[in-house]
Symmetry: C2
Subunit: 313 residues, 2 copies
């Protein structure tokens, strides 16, 4: 099994990327190989600094880098030898089992759509984010930003995609799917959430528990929380800021420590034909390592095949 990392992605790349990749290789202990994709002259010396610890890592050269400020679609098309484009090409060719990057979120999405593509039947892939639960473990929230504007049918599919992920990757049996809304009653909400509620309610593939509210994000009402990408993005960034404030105030707690994006490392793109994960721009080696371990778990679980077979019917 090969789990790849964009060695040029993230504010502290390639140093943090290489350090994180070496960490992940140690933790995986031969269960999967780590592939680094990036500029050879920049990455090779960093790898060599790690000595024997880096011996198992494979370096695939990619001469270009998509910068954070670039237009994602244009940059992806023009920089065919960028680390992101090379990564997706290899993923699509079956040479990799998962591809992770802490680089441009936009370019990672564009690559997912243009290269490995959405699973037939999936209207729009979504970015899922892990949400720590008060009673332990994690739930997931999707979409958190791939689709600012959504149709009811998309929210319904996010429920299915999230449910499959919760089941096969997080190991949650019959995951509870909730629809983020401004009230629990069925008739509440926007035209979008009202229509999505009706679709989710009759979908036979999921265990829909109805509307949930902002206050239910961290409790046990739902394992999978569905919303449009605008709302999910606001919620995600708000939760991240709470964590930052707690750290600033030196208020530590095992539950709130799980808000730290580093503990998870990245957000999977669900609904595409392969495993791709987007990391935080500020990723540390620890975050990079966990993103790669998550990539391994996704690949190991066979989640993308599960999604394909569910949507084929």
């Amino acid at each position: 099994m090969k789990i790849a990392l964009d060695a040029m992605g993230g504010d502290f790349a390639p140093q943090a990327a290489v350090d994180g990749a070496v960490l992940a290789a140690e933790k995986l202990d031969g269960k999967a190989q780590i592939v680094l994709i990036g500029q050879e002259e920049a990455v090779r010396p960093l790898l060599e600094q790690h000595g024997p610890a880096a011996a198992s890592l494979i370096l695939i050269p990619a001469s270009q880098v998509i910068e954070m400020g670039e237009h994602p679609a244009k940059a992806y098309q023009q920089k065919q030898d960028s680390s992101i484009a090379v990564g997706y090409r290899m993923l699509h060719a079956g040479e990799l089992d998962a591809f992770c990057s802490a680089g441009s979120t936009g370019a990672m999405l564009v690559g997912a759509m243009f290269s490995v593509k959405a699973v037939p039947g999936v209207l729009r892939p979504a970015i899922a984010n892990f949400v720590p639960k008060m009673h332990g473990g994690y739930g997931i929230l999707l979409d958190v930003g791939a689709n600012a504007e959504c149709k009811p049918e998309m929210l319904e599919q996010f429920g299915e995609l999230g449910s499959l992920y919760a089941q096969y990757v997080l190991g949650i049996n019959e995951p509870k799917v909730g629809l983020m809304n401004l009230g629990e009653e069925e008739g509440k909400g926007t035209v979008l959430t009202q229509a999505a509620h009706q679709l989710l309610k009759v979908n036979p593939h999921i265990n829909f528990v109805g509307n949930i509210e902002g206050r239910d994000l961290f409790n046990s009402k739902a394992d999978v929380i569905v919303c449009d990408g605008y709302t999910g993005n606001v919620v995600l960034k708000l939760a991240e800021s709470i964590y930052d404030i707690l750290v600033e105030k030196q208020m530590h707690d095992p539950f709130f420590d799980k808000f730290n994006y580093e503990a998870i490392g990245g957000s999977p793109i669900l609904g595409i034909n392969d495993n791709a994960i987007i990391g935080h721009g500020v990723s540390t080696p620890f975050a990079i390592c966990n993103m790669l371990l998550q990539g391994y778990q996704m690949a190991e679980s066979g989640i993308s095949d599960q999604i394909k077979s569910t949507f084929k019917s």
Copy 2:
């Protein structure tokens, strides 16, 4: 000046309402009179228990109560002698300077629209909520639930309404108005936020600082944060749940303590012809007291006249 309270509103009414009203009367120390509206046989004995401390309070009888489960519009029309209907009638007649209730949010909104009505020129009134700021003080977020679905012009007006409130009630000079979005760049977001951005940008009455993100809720980027009522409601309830979790974990901090709704007591309805405030269903006497003090501040500031004169032009 007369500040009125729905004595029958809230989960712990009329006891918590009466106790809170007596507290507020003590704090106001003659600057304003507190008017209680509710069932005389239930409220009178509670008032009498307070002895001389309750002597300055006025009790206006209202024989009916709108329950939390009732359909707001139907209940408001049918129960013309309910505490909420009597309160709005008196407010509209100029017999009160502010009306506060921890009862049915829906009935309070219906009463606001049918009785005192929206200020001419205001498309839709909004519910505003206080947001504690890391650097001290409060900002406001609106709408938090009056309008699940919004048009760009409504968000523009929320910017104006919030700006006037921040200026005249919170005393913030040239309040910074931000639009809640999923990215800082102008072109980001939904069709709604993109269009609202263009309207807010050229509005001469406000100091628009552009898009803000979920992570900016508590920092100093914006004093007034504008969003649709669905998003605002999700954000508000999420923030409340964070406070509840911190309390449960006995993690105390002056900043997070300001998340406690009791410290503010209620959310003003902005854009109507008078001062009305909606309190939390679980309001304690302390929360009721602070809601009444907020009502006094609103009335004292002349905010509703400021809104009327701004929208007249």
